[in-house]
Structures are given as structure tokens and as C-alpha cells.
């Protein structure tokens, strides 16, 4: 068994504060759940959908793409190699389950989608607070009846998910390239929109595109801060209007190690070797990316505000504007919205509305206020599809105009 228990080591957790505050108020009771994010190749997505339907969870699907590096010999036998990026369409399933069931659900999905084979997908779970009408549940009978093997040996702990929201078009590509060069993981790119800057302007806003490219990277926790720093430097996120970056903890996950396609110099790729050692050592703690020089830099923590919170809202498209405006009133800015499709449990469930998942990163001191405001305005009590997730974000970087 693994000895590492990531979240519990944290001294201060804003999401736990939210939980305490809301429990004390007694109006809304947050549920402590695990949010499972499962990113699979489009070709396997049907299998996963069927499983999730049987499991009886409400999942929200989003389209995205994995970026891999392809190395090919040059044409006409010319010397050298041609390195390019290949986009692979993937479906992202997000759903919440009671924390005690998350491991078994993950095991089952790994088995269903054969995710332990590199190149098929990534799955990870994050512990968070959820506000919703009904407590998330799974079809226990179905889950108990499944017979799948225990995938503890391939599941990694102490991971973190770094989310980069990029404003300039095409920058997703360069970030993905940077991540692949660093050998981090297969980057996931999705499209979203953010209107914060635009909404502040008059008609001149047409010059600013609302479209954002969002890159999700899952990596060992101890690496994340230095990686964020490298990415900020590479993408010049320290300039205004370029985007922002933050990190959220992942309790366990299985990462796709199929980073590079093509000619291979050695018997195994470096990613395969790392994965094998991870498995032997039961974790990623052995990995050391930083040298002494970087260690020194690490002590300068000026860049990152600590103890932020990621609040994500899943709601009807129309309501999301109201919720976002409410957030703005209490000083939470920079929400990014992505279109999601609810995975209907039954085919004849009727017409569902258009859903949006909107994520916002807020400093710890206003988290309570934002959650209060959102809960006040939301229709969580009536609408079974609306959800608010509160999740710690130990490091974030947003450029602030002075």
C-alpha cells in the first residue's frame, strides 16, 4: 500500500474553512466528495459512457485534445528528423462520487478503458467540497458486482494538476510543446471563454478575443512549483493579458505516459522508465527535477500567492452570467467558462439545457465571501444539475496590473 497521503499534510486549507463556515451556518451542507476526471481517447469514450451510465452518476463531458510529439525521419532519406505535434481528440468526463468509492470507480474505469495501456487516457481524482441538491451517490450494487483487479500499483499519489489559461491564440500549442519537452505528461488542451476584460470595456472589446486555450498538466506535486515558474518564463505570463496559471492537488491518478510517437533510441522511452520506477517506489517522491540553483530560487516565493481556491460552477448557460457577475461583486475575477454536455442517464430524459462549467481562482481571504454569494444566488436547492465545487489551489499566478 502507499504510504503517501497528500492532502492531510496541509496546514491550512481554504476549502476546509469553507466547509466549517457553511456547516456552522447550517443552511447548505457541503458534501465531501472526490471529483474524478477521466480523459480518454475519443475511440474509447463510448465504453466509458456506458460504464458511467450503469454507475448512475451525472457526468459532464467536454471535448479536448491530447498533444503528443511525433518524431519522423525526414522525407527522401534526408538526414535528420522531423519533430511535429499531433493532436488526438479526447473526451473529458468529470463527475463526483463519495470519497470512499473513488478508488473502486477509478479501478473500474481503468479496466473498462484499458487505461493502463499508454496512449489511451488519463484518470485522476481530486478531493473537494461540493454543493449540490443531492448528495452524490453511485449505484453501489452495480459497483460491488464488478470484478476488476486492484490497480494500486499503477496509481500515483502526491500529484497536482496545473491549469494554464492562455489568452493569445495558438499559445496552447507552445505550452504543450514546452510540457512535452520537459517530459511532464501528455498535455490536455481545451477551449474556453473568458469575458472579464471584455466586460469592462465598451464596444472596443471586439478587439479582444474572448476565446481562451486551457492547458491541463498533471505532474508530481513537488515539481509543480518549479514547472509553473518555467512555464511563466517561457510563455511570458508575467506580461499583462497573457493568461494565468494555477495548481490544484490530485489525490491519486493514472497518467498517460505515451508522450512521444515515433522512432525510439533505446529499448524503453524515458517516460516508460520513469513510470516503471514510480511503480517500484510506489510514488513520485524519488523524482528530483531541481538542482541546487533552482532550490535557491524556490525560496523566493514572491511570485505565487499561496492558499488560493478554485471554485468551479456547473450551471445552465443563462445562469452562469448571473453567478459570474455575483463573483465579480465580491472581487473574484477571471472566470473561464467551458461548454459541457451532461451525459444523460436515460435516453428519454427529455431536453436538457445547455450547461457551462465555469472555473474561477480566488484568494483565500475572499473564498468564504464568494461561496456565500454564489450559494445565495444559485438554484442549488431546486436544480439537481447545478453544482459548486470548492477545491484548494496551493499555488497560483495571475498578473495584476499595478
Amino acid at each position: 500500500m502507499n504510504k503517501e497521503h497528500p492532502i492531510k499534510e496541509k496546514v491550512f486549507s481554504p476549502s476546509r474553512t469553507v466547509w466549517r463556515t457553511q456547516m456552522a451556518k447550517g443552511i447548505y451542507s457541503p458534501h465531501r466528495v472526490s471529483r474524478i476526471t477521466c480523459i480518454v481517447n475519443e475511440l474509447i469514450s463510448e465504453k466509458v459512457s456506458v460504464f458511467l451510465n450503469d454507475l448512475g452518476v451525472t457526468a459532464y463531458i467536454e471535448n479536448g485534445r491530447f498533444v503528443r510529439e511525433v518524431t519522423k525521419p525526414r522525407r527522401f532519406n534526408l538526414p535528420g528528423e522531423k519533430v511535429s505535434l499531433r493532436n488526438i481528440p479526447v473526451d473529458i468526463f468529470r463527475f463526483t462520487v463519495p470519497r470512499e468509492n473513488s478508488k473502486k470507480v477509478i479501478d473500474n474505469i481503468i479496466e473498462t478503458g484499458e487505461l493502463h495501456i499508454p496512449g489511451r487516457g488519463t484518470i485522476f481524482s481530486q478531493d473537494l467540497m461540493e454543493f449540490s441538491k443531492e448528495q452524490p451517490s453511485v449505484n453501489i450494487d452495480f459497483l460491488d458486482a464488478t470484478t476488476c483487479r486492484d490497480y494500486s500499483d499503477v496509481l500515483l499519489h502526491k500529484l497536482s494538476c496545473v491549469v494554464c489559461v492562455l489568452s493569445s491564440p495558438g499559445s496552447g500549442e507552445s505550452l504543450a510543446k514546452a510540457a512535452l519537452d520537459l517530459g511532464l505528461c501528455v498535455p490536455l488542451v481545451t477551449f474556453g471563454s473568458g469575458n472579464y476584460m471584455r466586460d469592462q470595456l465598451g464596444l472596443i472589446r471586439i478587439t479582444i478575443s474572448p476565446e481562451k486555450e486551457i492547458v491541463h498538466l498533471v505532474m508530481p506535486e513537488q515539481d509543480s512549483e518549479s514547472i509553473i515558474r518555467i512555464l511563466i518564463e517561457q510563455l511570458r505570463l508575467d506580461l499583462p493579458g497573457r493568461g494565468f496559471i494555477y495548481q490544484t492537488p490530485v489525490s491519486m491518478g493514472l497518467l498517460d505516459t505515451y508522450l512521444k510517437i515515433g522512432k525510439q533510441k533505446y529499448a524503453a522511452t524515458i517516460e516508460q522508465i520513469i513510470a516503471a520506477i514510480d511503480q517500484l517506489k510506489s510514488g513520485t517522491g524519488w523524482r528530483k527535477r531541481l538542482n541546487e540553483e533552482h532550490q535557491e530560487k524556490k525560496s523566493i516565493k514572491s511570485l505565487f500567492p499561496q492558499n488560493n481556491c478554485e471554485i468551479s460552477i456547473i450551471s445552465d448557460e443563462d445562469r452562469i452570467d448571473i453567478l459570474r457577475e455575483a463573483c465579480l461583486k465580491v472581487g473574484a475575477t477571471g472566470a473561464v467558462s467551458e461548454k459541457v454536455i451532461p451525459l444523460a442517464r436515460k435516453v428519454n430524459e427529455g431536453i436538457s439545457s445547455t450547461m457551462i462549467r465555469s472555473a474561477i481562482n480566488v484568494p483565500a481571504d475572499i473564498t468564504d465571501k464568494v461561496v456565500d454569494m454564489l450559494l445565495e444566488i444559485s438554484t442549488i436547492r431546486e436544480d439537481p444539475t447545478e453544482r459548486i465545487h470548492v477545491l484548494d489551489s496551493p499555488a497560483a499566478y495571475v498578473h495584476k496590473l499595478k
Binding site: 493532436n87 496512449g119 488542451v189 469592462q200 454536455i341 444523460a344 431536453i351 439545457s353
Partner: protein, 686 residues
């Protein structure tokens, strides 16, 4: 929310950056076609650019127009369409949605300026060779547009129905397309109906224009988002396909009905003969119009056949000069000089030889007039559709429009863009394309090509001078003053009319290659067609709008530039095939049926989303940039080859891109599948 004030300087910086990026993108998209046309004209055909200034101005307008138009779509039309699509299923039942779709499709077709292009394609059709086609294009033109409108309306309604109930697109393709193919086959056996096939398929290609497509796409995406469950509906694509296919069916039905009225095709002499008069009069309201048609479109044989005896024929010809009433009855608005130059035979010309002829070189149409006409067309294309959407959204759905000012600006941009684009094409691009197109038949011609006939009045033989060549032969020449340029012209006795003292100066251009090299010429023409199709499609705004949508829906897995490239390659190949059919005068069905059978096979093996995207990109390709250029070329070549109509090019230019996109999709999917299976096998082996 209160808006922050942006200082003027900052605003200007923001605006200039924004405008620059958009304009550069459009310059890139039209660069190929412009450079290609100029290179072809100047370097290969060796014809100087006529009116280079106007052409350059026109090209500038095209670029500005495209920039405004595309930005307008992105700001105004597409968000508006998607909003209506998202809200409709929540507030209205399927019946209301279908009725809305029907109205929208209908209005969109009536607003479509490209549909008038079909008349141009059919302008060379003669009433005796293809009576039914003539009947439909002239007497029943409104019916044609109406039936195409109904076709598109039903298509949009059907598309919405499909999204509402999450139906797959494949059954629609696998039923509708074979039905169309079978009808086409059936039509081949009838002389009259056979001629309709080109028109019908071209109608399907043309109806889905630059405004309609992005709107319908946005609407489809909205509806499938609101009504969709999971990812089963192809994400909003597929309406354009239906809107390209159903009008074909509608035109087939219309022509089948009208075929009972139309006379059989006949020879010109028969057609104008008194015996057949009754039948011929079906196509023309009265004798006068038939007679006028014999003069304006027929040849000498037809006219003689019409008058039945030579005397009355001759007196009619002679009266062209002396009797203004008869002249206007016989020629309509056509000046008698033009008639003599363009329509009259040698004998007829001699009969009227005493007539003093003046030719005016008044080719440059007024720029102002072009703008006014295009402004009217643009307004017709943009305003009814935006009003319909706004009324439905605010009046019927009672929805507020987010970013009202932006949407309004978008609509204004679309309108401005449309006007600038179409005027620019008329003034610049089409002139350029037309010039090349007109010269193109020289590439495979055996003889000198007739360019122009100039009549010199009061010709004085004393102006002639004699020249001598190395072998001692003498030739007579005179100097011709062409707007200040002095040109030595060889004097040919036959072209001098003693009685009228007129000299007909005929300007010709020699064939590009020597007689033996006509295969090379044909090859050159085909290459030209390929490049023209490729380049024009790259600049097509509807395709660019669709590219943006596809890139968004597939989260960049299929990039806009990739889609545009693949579709353009497809259109290029389509043009090549379409031109082959014109050059070798082959029946259109020989091309349509095999391509669509291939398409059906590819469709069966492709996945849902890509099928819809591929079939939609077929409909998108024929828009305001492609149609005028393609028609200019098609007509000039079909005119040269004496082929009655220039139909079929657009149909092929729509079919081939579907094949190229489907093939590309299958290739990508195969790669993906292989990489997954390969990995699984490796792990299994371990």
C-alpha cells in the same frame, strides 16, 4: 456594468492591432488566387492586364470586404444564430422549430445573390436545343427560385428535426443521395430532362451561400447543444448537406412537371418553322417575341425558317435600317450596329452594307452603378435574415441579446463586407478571371481566336502603303490610330466595303501552341482550372467561417487552415473534372454518379461527426468568390467549344471536396486506431 474608459490612444493601438491581424489573414487567403491569375495572364497567356488600376482597386475591395464580412459573421450572425438555436428547443416544440427552419431556409434562398448566377450559366442555352431548360430559366425563373427555396426550407427543418431527436446523419445521406442518383439516371433517357441535371445539381451547390451557411451552422450547433445528449449528433453539422441535396430534388420535381408542357428539343430550322410554331410559342408569349428571339439568338437559317419565304425575310432585314418600329420589334433594345457585328451572317451584313456603323468602346461599367447594385443585393442577403433572427429571439423567445451593440455592429459589418466583397469581385477579381478565362481557349485552339471587330467608317484607300518582305512579296498596310497608339494593320480586300466605304478591322490572337500541341494546351487549361478552384476556395468566406466553427467544435483537432486546404484541394479536383466534361462534351451523369457512389461508400465507413463536416464543406465551397470566377471560365470555354451550357462545374466543385475531407478523416481515424491497437498488442505481448 459600468464600462471603463479607454484613452483614445490606447483604443487606437488596440484597434490597429485588431484590424491588422484580420486584414493580414484575408490577404493571405486571397494572395494565391490573385498572384495565380496574374501570372497566368501575363506570363503564360501573354496578355497585358486590361485596366490594371480598376483591377487593383477591386482586389483591395475584396480584401476589405472579406475582412468585414468574416468579422461581422463572428461578431453578429453566428452568436445570434447559436443563441436562437440554444433557446428554441427549450421554449418551443418540434413543430414550431420546423416551421422556423422552413421559413429561415426559404428566406435565406430568396436572399441568396448567387442564385442569379445560374441565369448566367444558362445564358447560352438556346430555346431549340433545350426547351425545358429555357422554359425553366426564363418563363419559370420565379418558380425555380421558389422550388429551390422550398427545398432549402425543408432541408433546414429536417436538419433541426434531426438534431432535436438526435438522429444520425447517415440514413439521410444513404436515402436522399441514391434517390437523386436514380432520378438523374432516369432523366438521362429524356432529351429534355437530361439538360436539367446540370442545372439541378448546380442549384444545390449554389443555394448554400456565404450568409446562409454560417448562420445555419451556428443554429445547428445551438440546437444540438440544447437538445443533444452526449456526442451523437455530429455537433451541429449536416444542415448544409441537406440544403444542398433537397433543392436538387425540388428542381427535379419542378422540371418533371414542366416537362409535360415543354416541346421536344429540335433543330433551329425546325424550331422556327411555321409547322412547329405552336409548340415554339409555348416558350414565348407571342409571335413578336419568338421573332425577336430568332434575331437576337438565332442564326440566318433560323430567321429564314421563321419567315418561311426569302422575300419577307429580306424585307425584314432591310427594314432594320429604315423602319424604327420594325427594328425595335425585331431587336428589342439591341442596337442594330451590335446586331450586325455579333449576330448577322455575312450575307445579312452585305444586305445592310450601306449602313454606317459605329462601334463604341464603352466597356468600363460605371463603378457607382456596380456599388448601387451590390448594395441592394447585399442588403437583400443580410437584412431579411438578421431581422428574422432578431424577431424570433426578442419577440418570440423573449430573450435578451447579450452584447447588443456587438451583435448590431456585426450585422453592419456583414452588410458592409458583403457589399465591398461582391463589388470588388465584379470590378477586380471577376474581370481578372474573365480576362484569363476568355483567353484560355487559345491554349487548345487550332486557329486564331477572334477578339474584336472594329468598323472603320469613311475608309480612304489612299491611306494605304505597300510593304515588301525578303522574298519580294508585297502587302498593303494602313496605320490605325487606336486611342493615340499608331498600329500598322494589314489591309485585306475582302474586309473593305466599297459601297459603304467601311473597313472591318478584325483583331485576332494566334493560338498559344502550335496545332500539334493542343494536348499540351488542354493540359494547361486543366491545370488552370485546378488552381482557380483551389485559390478561389481558399478565399471563400463561408468556408473560413466553417473552418472557425470546426476548429472550435473539435478543440483544434481539425485546424481551420487544414480544413480549408483539404476542401480547396477537393474543389480544385472538382473543377478539373467539371472542365473535362465541358472540354470533351461528356454527359454530366458520368461524373456525378461515380463520385456520389464513392461518397456513399466513404460515408458508410466514416464516423458521424466527420461525415457531417465533410458533406457540409461540400455545400460551403460555392460562394461569392468561387461562383463568378468559375462561371467566367466555364462559360468562355463552353462557348468556345460550342457546348450549349456551362452547368456542372459547380456541381463537381461541390462533390469532390466531400471526398477529400472524408478521405482525410478516414486517414486520421485509421492512424489513431492503429496507434491504440498497436500499443494494446505490445502491452499484451509483455
Amino acid at each position: 456594468m459600468k464600462h471603463k474608459k479607454v484613452p483614445l490612444r490606447d483604443a487606437l493601438v488596440m484597434l490597429s492591432g485588431y484590424a491588422r491581424s484580420r486584414i493580414i489573414a484575408q490577404i493571405r487567403s486571397v494572395a494565391f488566387i490573385i498572384i495565380y491569375l496574374i501570372i497566368f495572364q501575363v506570363l503564360i497567356l501573354r496578355v497585358p492586364l486590361s485596366n490594371a488600376l480598376l483591377t487593383a482597386g477591386g482586389i483591395g475591395l475584396v480584401i476589405t470586404g472579406l475582412t468585414f464580412f468574416l468579422e461581422g459573421l463572428v461578431l453578429g450572425f453566428m452568436p445570434l444564430g447559436e443563441r436562437v438555436g440554444v433557446k428554441l428547443p427549450a421554449r418551443a416544440g418540434i413543430l414550431v422549430i420546423s416551421v422556423f427552419g422552413l421559413i429561415l431556409g426559404f428566406v435565406a434562398t430568396l436572399a441568396e445573390p448567387a442564385i442569379t448566377a445560374l441565369r448566367t450559366a444558362g445564358s447560352t442555352v438556346t430555346a431549340w436545343e433545350a426547351p425545358l431548360l429555357y422554359l425553366i430559366l426564363h418563363d419559370y425563373a420565379e418558380w425555380l427560385i421558389l422550388s429551390v427555396g422550398i427545398g432549402v426550407g425543408v432541408a433546414v427543418a429536417m436538419g433541426m428535426f434531426r438534431f432535436y431527436y438526435n438522429l444520425s446523419i447517415k440514413p439521410f445521406i444513404l436515402i436522399i443521395i441514391p434517390v437523386l442518383l436514380i432520378i438523374s439516371l432516369f432523366f438521362v433517357s429524356d432529351g429534355n430532362l437530361e439538360r436539367i441535371i446540370g442545372l439541378a445539381w448546380d442549384c444545390g451547390a449554389v443555394t448554400t451561400g456565404a450568409v446562409t451557411v454560417p448562420l445555419v451552422l451556428a443554429l445547428g450547433i445551438g440546437i444540438s447543444r440544447a437538445a443533444g445528449k452526449g456526442k451523437s449528433t455530429g455537433s451541429g453539422f449536416g444542415i448544409v448537406l441537406l440544403a444542398s441535396a433537397l433543392p436538387v430534388l425540388a428542381v427535379y420535381i419542378l422540371s418533371f412537371i414542366l416537362n409535360f408542357r415543354a416541346p421536344e428539343p429540335s433543330s433551329e430550322v425546325e424550331f422556327f418553322s411555321a409547322k412547329e410554331r405552336k409548340k415554339s410559342l409555348i416558350l414565348f408569349g407571342n409571335e413578336e417575341q419568338l421573332r425577336r428571339y430568332a434575331f437576337t439568338h438565332g442564326t440566318e437559317k433560323g430567321r429564314i425558317s421563321y419567315f418561311n419565304n426569302v422575300e419577307s425575310y429580306q424585307s425584314a432585314i432591310l427594314s432594320l435600317n429604315n423602319d424604327p418600329a420594325t427594328r425595335s420589334s425585331l431587336l428589342g433594345n439591341l442596337p442594330v450596329e451590335d446586331w450586325i457585328i455579333n449576330n448577322a451572317s455575312e450575307t445579312e451584313r452585305e444586305m445592310l452594307s450601306y449602313l454606317k456603323l459605329t462601334t463604341e468602346n464603352n466597356k468600363t461599367g460605371s463603378v457607382g452603378k456596380t456599388f448601387a447594385l451590390e448594395a441592394y443585393n447585399g442588403a437583400r442577403a443580410v437584412i431579411p435574415l438578421s431581422l428574422l433572427l432578431l424577431i424570433v429571439l426578442t419577440g418570440f423567445l423573449r430573450e435578451k441579446i447579450r452584447y447588443k451593440d456587438e451583435v448590431f455592429l456585426g450585422i453592419v459589418f456583414t452588410l458592409i463586407g458583403m457589399i465591398l466583397l461582391t463589388s470588388g469581385i465584379k470590378l477586380g477579381l471577376a474581370t481578372l478571371g474573365g480576362d484569363v478565362g476568355a483567353q484560355l481557349p487559345r491554349a487548345f485552339a487550332h486557329e486564331d481566336k477572334f477578339i474584336e471587330r472594329i468598323v472603320i467608317n469613311n475608309f480612304d484607300k489612299s491611306l494605304l502603303y505597300t510593304t515588301i518582305s525578303t522574298d519580294g512579296t508585297h502587302k498593303s498596310y494602313f496605320n490605325f490610330n487606336d486611342n493615340g497608339t499608331i498600329l500598322p494593320v494589314e489591309f485585306i480586300e475582302d474586309q473593305f466595303n466599297e459601297a459603304g466605304r467601311t473597313y472591318e478591322h478584325i483583331i485576332t490572337s494566334p493560338p498559344l501552341f502550335r496545332r500539334k500541341l493542343s494536348v499540351l494546351g488542354i493540359f494547361l487549361v486543366l491545370i488552370f482550372a485546378y488552381g482557380l478552384g483551389y485559390g478561389a476556395t481558399m478565399a471563400e468566406p463561408a468556408l473560413n467561417a466553417m473552418g472557425i466553427t470546426v476548429e472550435g467544435i473539435t478543440v483544434g483537432t481539425i485546424k481551420k487552415a487544414q480544413l480549408v486546404q483539404i476542401v480547396s484541394l477537393g474543389v480544385g479536383s472538382g473543377m478539373l473534372l467539371g472542365l473535362c466534361r465541358i472540354l470533351f462534351n461528356l454527359p454530366l451523369v458520368w461524373f456525378i454518379i461515380p463520385s456520389y457512389i464513392l461518397l456513399i461508400l466513404l460515408t458508410i465507413f466514416s464516423d458521424e461527426e466527420l461525415t457531417a463536416i465533410a458533406w457540409d464543406s461540400g455545400g460551403v465551397t460555392t460562394g461569392p468568390v468561387t461562383v463568378p470566377l468559375v462561371l467566367a471560365m466555364g462559360l468562355s470555354i463552353s462557348g468556345e467549344m460550342n457546348i450549349p451550357d456551362g452547368f456542372g462545374l459547380l456541381a463537381m466543385a461541390s462533390a469532390l471536396p466531400i471526398i477529400s475531407v472524408l478521405l482525410y478523416g478516414l486517414l486520421i481515424k485509421a492512424k489513431q486506431r492503429r496507434s491504440i491497437l498497436l500499443r494494446r498488442n505490445t502491452v499484451a505481448n509483455e
